[in-house]
């Protein structure tokens, strides 16, 4: 059941993220990307198989095997992924700010849908 | 772990949990922001404090050594809770349609009105 819960949780996050990703405003897209990054982080994490109460911090007298500890590798990967996703979000959001300021629209295409693109 | 100590811990847990719940009930039940503000910010803080004490006792009883460091959590909550409560109150004030503030006392007539 844990597996199903985790998988479906990831699914919900993905669906929400994808929906926002397909919106027309930069901020919404960034929100969508944030949700998607949660989903992917959980997905990678899940690939190590979910277990309760076995953090991969070695304890004395407990043999270092997968029976006693959760798979540490996906956790390390997720850490990297979280950091990278944050960095990307930061850049995206700043670009969105600049695009909105320079183009006077926060539409992802840099102009409001009805008006034609301003000439350079 | 002695039974008495265990009962004490259970009691602490019960009290803590009670206050945590009270805070959330207040959050849900009350009808106005400033009323709701009181429950979570304080009752929950106390509840968490009780649970923390229980935790210290629990870990101490299990022989992890007296883990007084949980106290730090309470300490930090005591520093930070006023800041957040203060700011949330200020934020709600700034949104209030009509100023709910009573006037300051007469001797303060000279003081300028609030920055807003």
């Amino acid at each position: 059941m844990i597996e199903l819960a985790l998988a479906s949780g990831i699914g919900v996050l993905t669906a929400c993220g994808v929906y926002l990703l397909l919106r027309a405003r930069s901020f919404d897209v960034i929100l969508g990307l944030t949700l998607l990054s949660y989903a992917t982080n959980l997905l990678i994490f899940a690939s190590g198989r979910p277990v309760i109460g076995k953090p991969p911090v070695l304890r004395e007298g407990v043999a270092g095997t997968l029976a006693n500890y959760a798979d540490p590798l996906p956790q390390a990967l997720v850490l990297t992924a979280i950091v990278i996703a944050f960095a990307m979000t930061a850049v995206a959001i700043v670009v969105a700010m600049r695009s909105r300021a320079d183009n006077r629209s926060d539409h992802v295409d840099g102009h409001e849908p009805e008006t034609p693109e301003p000439e350079r | 772990m002695s039974a008495a100590f265990e009962i004490l811990l259970v009691l602490l847990l019960a009290v803590g949990t009670f206050f945590v719940l009270v805070g959330s009930i207040g959050l849900v039940k009350l009808s106005e922001f400033f009323k709701r503000l009181h429950g979570p910010t304080k009752a929950t803080t106390l509840g968490v404090g009780c649970i923390l004490v229980a935790s210290i006792g629990h870990h101490a009883a299990l022989g992890d050594g007296l883990g007084l460091r949980e106290l730090l959590i309470t300490g930090f909550l005591f520093i930070t809770a006023p800041i957040s409560a203060h700011l949330m109150a200020k934020a709600a004030l700034s949104l209030a349609e009509k100023d709910p503030r009573p006037p300051t006392t007469p001797r303060d007539d000279a003081s300028p009105p609030d920055s807003r």
Binding site: M1, A5, A46, L58, A76, V95 | -
Partner: protein
């Protein structure tokens, strides 16, 4: 020797192009020296070629692909080289006087020599791929030549059209040659020519032939690809003279002759080539009659004559081949002289329009005489060279064996072509040199400079000499050239002027009579001058190019319409398709059971608390979507999602992840709030509900797909290498927090990349926001808000938080924590200072150069890794020491700590650079007094 011959034009092209500031005469002489010296070299080689030898040189270029730099000079190549060089000399001489002072002579001569070199390379090539190389070079250089007068629209268009047709043909030729190479196993001409039978028997013969012929026909302007040639008349006349007599268009028929032994001899070849040739012959000749431009008339006549040559090669009998080769020579000579004459007329009269010309024989008698002789040669009048090859052609047309209908048809075509040829030649002569006129000419017309006439004189003399005494003049040349095509099995033929009264002669006479009748008849019936015939092919081409451009434009911008939504949608759809495809394939093939969606492992029970957490996460995520148009609310919701996700990490045994997620969540919220000040507070409604529902469906599909995949994967037993990581972490990497050990040791390189990314993000934000002013969405009146009480408390908090940061940093290797987490724990309290105290306040007192902090951090991380290289172990190999310090005792130190310092600094620097830059952005309407911070 052959290398020298080939190199001369290229080298001198370079010389001419480089020496731009020398007098024009010097340039011309330099240019002329290429063909002149080339002729000397060729003369040197002539005895050997005449004797039947084939001088050959060969260098490797891409031997593994069969592309050799192989040059060979057989009779055919020799003849063509002679034509190219000989006429080349005359053209250079002529152009020296033709070009006006405005024209850039070095450029012209450089192009011309380049073109000459390409032509030479093509005829000398002993390797078919090399031939293609030079073939396309002629396309490029002719493009440059035709477009030489770049300011003229017709020149640019003509050049583009020529390039499109001949360059495209070249691509087809490349295909054909590659097939030919696959068929014969070699691109060496010797081999290919020797394996004619194998080629004709090969199943790929037909497509190969089609491609090769497409190349040939495009280049030699065969119907229906002929229309580029009249358009190319926009080139300066010397170029036209060169391209249309001895070179460009002859490249096609050269190749036809060249590959004749390998390709000819099938019905396919016979019918295709002769029919195309015949059609071209007629179309060209008929159209020539109706041209008003001298050069236009000559261009169509060229088309017609090339049709004739093609037809001859199509007939494929040895005699026809000899006639074809002969006509190549003859046509080159008279057509070059005619073009030059036309150029002289244009030069002197300022127009080439026959409607305005006339009576020139009085004004420039000598030139007129030359031009008339040359045009009579074009018409095939006896005692001129054109007559001889035309006779041969008539004879061959009448003697086609085995194809009765074809014989009749072709004979008729031959006759008609003769008639038309006489007619247009007559028009050329009559309309230009006789009758009234010239009309509306703005200058005095007189004979041209001496040197402009000499080339024409030489060519006309050749016309006469060949026409009158062929056996003494052209016979050895023709024999040598024909041997290049046919080998030593030359047919018996006679080059005498008089063969007695026979059918061909009758046909000649008939065509002359009918031709004269046709011309004058037409003149009587119609006002020839009023007929304006536009080339259908040309128009079609233009329409097609326009349509192509339009189509390209429509297509391109209908697909790449600049909508990010579409791009992302396509990516999502592509993913869905590719991820679903294997299952769909399994379903279709009935083997879906092969990949069950539930594995054999898993099935752990789920505590109710877990579901509760699930609920928090899912509800908050859905609420984010539901409230996304009110951005602040969405942000609060996403904060809840982040909290729930970190709780998931808590429950599923990932303390480090939980910590990191919590901290990143806070920074993310900070980031978004900072940005929200410069973005609208709400999102407008989407354009249509339909679209919303479509997106909901796609999102649901994506969610369902991910759920399915993840569930299928994580219910399968794992076979990870992670067990070994757990086992080797403590003994070999001296850390008991395996996640952290992976981060700084096992996969330290990932972390190095990760902090690099983080640092770059800081730099990018810095670059994008430094000294920018952005419009805020809404300004709340009043100055910056003072928060004295929170300020006090945060002052109290600050050093304590720093201590926690140090703590988390130091213990990370063994317990949850580490450089990244510690870096953020350092950054967030500082951020809080920015929020509570304001940017200016903090920046003045704690003004770090965060960018440098990133630099130092990177240096530290890389430096730690490099240190291990000094011990002759790989980058990032960890070391370990237990120094005993006084007072403190054992102090376990892992080198990974040094690496983690780098992480710590980069993360702190990066986060603060991002946040402080975003905080330091000034709104456009901010007063200058506020704007002097940072």
């Amino acid at each position: 020797m052959l290398e020298l011959l080939l190199a001369l034009p290229f080298v001198l092209a370079l010389v001419v192009a480089v020496l731009r500031d020398v007098p024009r005469a010097v340039t011309a002489w330099l240019a002329a020296s290429a063909p002149l010296l080339g002729l000397v070299v060729l003369a040197w080689l002539t005895p050997a070629v005449m004797a039947g030898e084939i001088p050959q040189v060969s260098y490797d270029w891409i031997p593994q692909a069969g592309l050799l730099f192989d040059l060979r000079l057989d009779g055919l190549a020799w003849m063509f080289a002679g034509l190219i060089l000989g006429i080349g000399v005359l053209i250079v001489m002529y152009a020296r006087y033709y070009l006006s002072s405005n024209d850039c002579a070095p450029r012209f001569f450089a192009y011309l020599l380049l073109f000459m070199g390409a032509m030479l390379g093509m005829v000398l090539a002993g390797n078919l791929l090399l031939l293609v190389v030079f073939w396309e070079l002629t396309s490029i250089s002719s493009f440059l030549l035709i477009g030489y007068w770049t300011q003229r629209k017709d020149a640019r268009e003509g050049a583009r059209m020529a390039l499109a047709i001949t360059g495209g043909g070249g691509l087809a030729l490349l295909g054909g040659v590659l097939l030919l190479g696959q068929i014969t196993g070699s691109f060496q001409l010797d081999v290919v020519l020797a394996s004619g039978d194998a080629i004709r028997a090969h199943p790929l013969y037909a497509p190969m032939l089609g491609l090769v012929l497409l190349g040939i026909f495009s280049k030699s302007a065969q119907f229906p690809l002929h229309f580029w040639l009249p358009q190319a008349m926009a080139a300066p006349t010397p170029v036209s003279a060169y391209l249309h007599s001895a070179t460009m268009v002859k490249a096609g028929v050269f190749l036809l002759a060249r590959l004749h032994p390998a390709l000819a001899g099938t019905d396919l070849f016979f019918y295709t080539v002769s029919c195309v040739g015949a059609a071209t012959l007629l179309v060209g000749a008929w159209n020539a009659i109706f041209q008003h431009d001298l050069k236009g008339l000559l261009a169509y006549s060229t088309i017609s004559h090339l049709g004739l040559i093609t037809l001859l090669f199509g007939l494929s009998t040895p005699m026809a081949v000899v006639a074809g080769v002969f006509h190549i020579l003859n046509h080159a000579v008279f057509k070059a002289s005619l073009f030059m004459a036309a150029g002289i007329i244009d030069h002197e009269a300022g127009t080439r329009d026959m409607r305005r010309l006339g009576g020139l024989r009085r004004l420039m008698p000598f030139t007129s005489a030359l031009a008339i002789i040359a045009s009579l040669a074009m018409a095939g009048i006896p005692l001129l060279n054109g007559f001889l090859s035309k006779e041969m052609f008539f004879a061959e047309a009448l003697e086609i064996s085995g194809h009765d209908a074809m014989r009749l048809g072709l004979s008729l075509v031959a006759f008609l072509a003769g008639v038309f040829g006489v007619a247009y030649s007559l028009r050329f002569v009559h309309d230009t040199f006789f009758g009234d006129g010239p009309r509306a000419v703005d200058r005095e017309i007189h004979e041209p400079p001496r040197w402009m006439k000499i080339p024409v004189e030489i060519l006309v003399v050749i016309c006469l000499a060949v026409g009158i005494v062929p056996a003494w003049t052209i016979a050895p040349v023709l024999a040598t050239a024909a041997r290049g095509v046919l080998g030593n099995a030359l047919p018996a033929y006679s080059l005498s002027v008089w063969h007695g009264f026979n059918l061909p002669l009758l046909m000649s006479i008939g065509s002359m009579v009918f031709g004269v009748a046709l011309y004058f008849g037409l003149r009587r019936l119609f006002n020839l001058h009023a007929i304006i015939r536009r080339s259908l092919g040309h128009r079609l081409f233009r329409v097609n190019v326009k349509a192509l451009l339009m189509l390209a434009w429509r297509f391109t911008y209908a697909i790449a319409n600049g909508s990010l939504q579409r791009y992302l949608l396509l990516m999502v759809l592509a993913t869905l398709v590719l991820a679903a495809a294997p299952f769909a394939a399994g379903l279709l093939s009935g083997t879906s059971g092969a990949s069950p969606l539930q594995g054999s492992a898993g099935g752990q029970p789920m505590p109710a608390l877990g579901w509760l957490l699930w609920l928090v996460m899912a509800v908050a995520a859905i609420a984010t979507v539901a409230m996304h148009r009110q951005r602040l609310l969405a942000l609060i919701m996403i904060g809840a999602v982040g909290l729930a996700v970190s709780l998931v990490f808590v429950f599923l045994s990932a303390p480090d992840l939980a910590l990191t997620q919590l901290l990143v969540e806070m920074v993310t919220i900070a980031l978004m709030l900072l940005a929200l000040n410069y973005l609208p507070k709400t999102s407008p409604h989407g354009r249509s509900a339909l679209r919303r529902w479509r997106d909901i469906a796609i999102a649901a599909a994506a969610g369902l797909g991910v759920t399915t995949l993840v569930y299928a994967v994580i219910t399968r037993p794992t076979q990870t290498i992670a067990g070994e990581l757990l086992a080797r972490s403590l003994p070999e990497a001296w850390g008991s927090n395996v996640v952290n050990v992976i981060l700084v040791d096992f996969r330290g390189f990932d972390t190095l990349g990760e902090i690099t990314v983080f640092g770059i993000a800081g730099l990018v934000v810095h670059a994008l926001l430094r000294r920018t002013r952005l419009t805020v969405d809404e300004t709340i009146p009043g100055g910056p808000m003072a928060l004295p009480m929170p300020a006090q408390l945060s002052h109290l908090l600050f050093p304590l938080a720093l201590a926690v940061s140090v703590y988390l940093f130091l213990r990370g290797h063994n317990q949850p924590g580490g450089g990244f987490i510690a870096g953020l724990v350092l950054a967030i309290p500082l951020l809080l200072q920015y929020v509570i105290q304001g940017s200016a306040y903090v920046q003045q007192r704690l003004g770090f150069d965060y960018a440098r902090c990133i630099g130092v951090g990177l240096l530290a991380a890389v430096g730690t890794g490099v240190a291990s290289m000094l011990f002759d172990v790989p980058f990032l190999t960890s070391g370990h020491a237990d120094p005993h310090l006084p007072l403190i005792g054992e102090m376990p130190l892992a080198s990974a700590l040094g690496f983690d310092v780098g992480v710590y600094l980069v993360v702190f620097g990066g986060a603060m650079l991002i946040l402080s830059m975003m905080g330091a952005v000034k709104s456009k309407d901010a007063s200058p007094a506020q704007g002097n911070a940072a």
